[in-house]
Symmetry: C2
């Protein structure tokens, strides 16, 4: 066991209490992220049905570029890396397009 100064300078085996506090915050944020993503896919599933019914293509490059530009702007304001934010949105959109293609194939 090795001790390190943590917060007020008192020594505890690697700042166990501080580590637990961080983990709880991350777990809370992750639960919120999962529930928001569930809600987002409920909306995009409705979009998929709408596109399939209207004979629209699954992907919409113009819309995606607008979404990316907007989120990069929001990310910069929130001090989140805009490059990562763009990768994140593309990761989500790729999954949405897979869903839409599957819906189109069934429709």
């Amino acid at each position: 066991m090795h001790g390190k100064p943590c917060g007020g300078g008192h020594f505890v085996p690697p700042c166990a209490a501080e580590g637990r506090g961080y983990r709880k915050s991350i777990d809370n944020i992750d639960a919120a992220l999962v529930h928001l993503l569930a809600e987002r896919f409920k909306v995009t599933q409705a979009v998929g049905r709408h596109k399939a019914a209207a004979g629209l293509p699954p992907a919409d490059p113009g819309r995606e570029e607008a979404q990316i530009a907007r989120l990069r702007r929001l990310a910069a304001e929130a001090e989140l890396d805009p490059e990562f934010t763009e990768k994140f949105l593309r990761f989500i959109i790729d999954e949405v397009i897979r869903h839409h293609q599957a819906q189109g194939a069934r429709g």
Copy 2:
């Protein structure tokens, strides 16, 4: 222009109003996701400083397995694909580990 029945059965060029409503919901959810991710990375940056100070490795496989199992459970309750949820968490954790490695290299 081709018309399709939308909602109440009236015809409009591909359900433009319905499409706009979906897009607004997606944009709102994406703004919330970006702000939550910004907050999550604030916490993991603090974790990175903590790990670097304590000489702990950037990755923690036991913790990651526990996070994945918990989020898969939450995803199933929220009707989100658990496979996608696991991919999503690994995508985020990979970015966190890159940050921690960069912090370690600077520290």
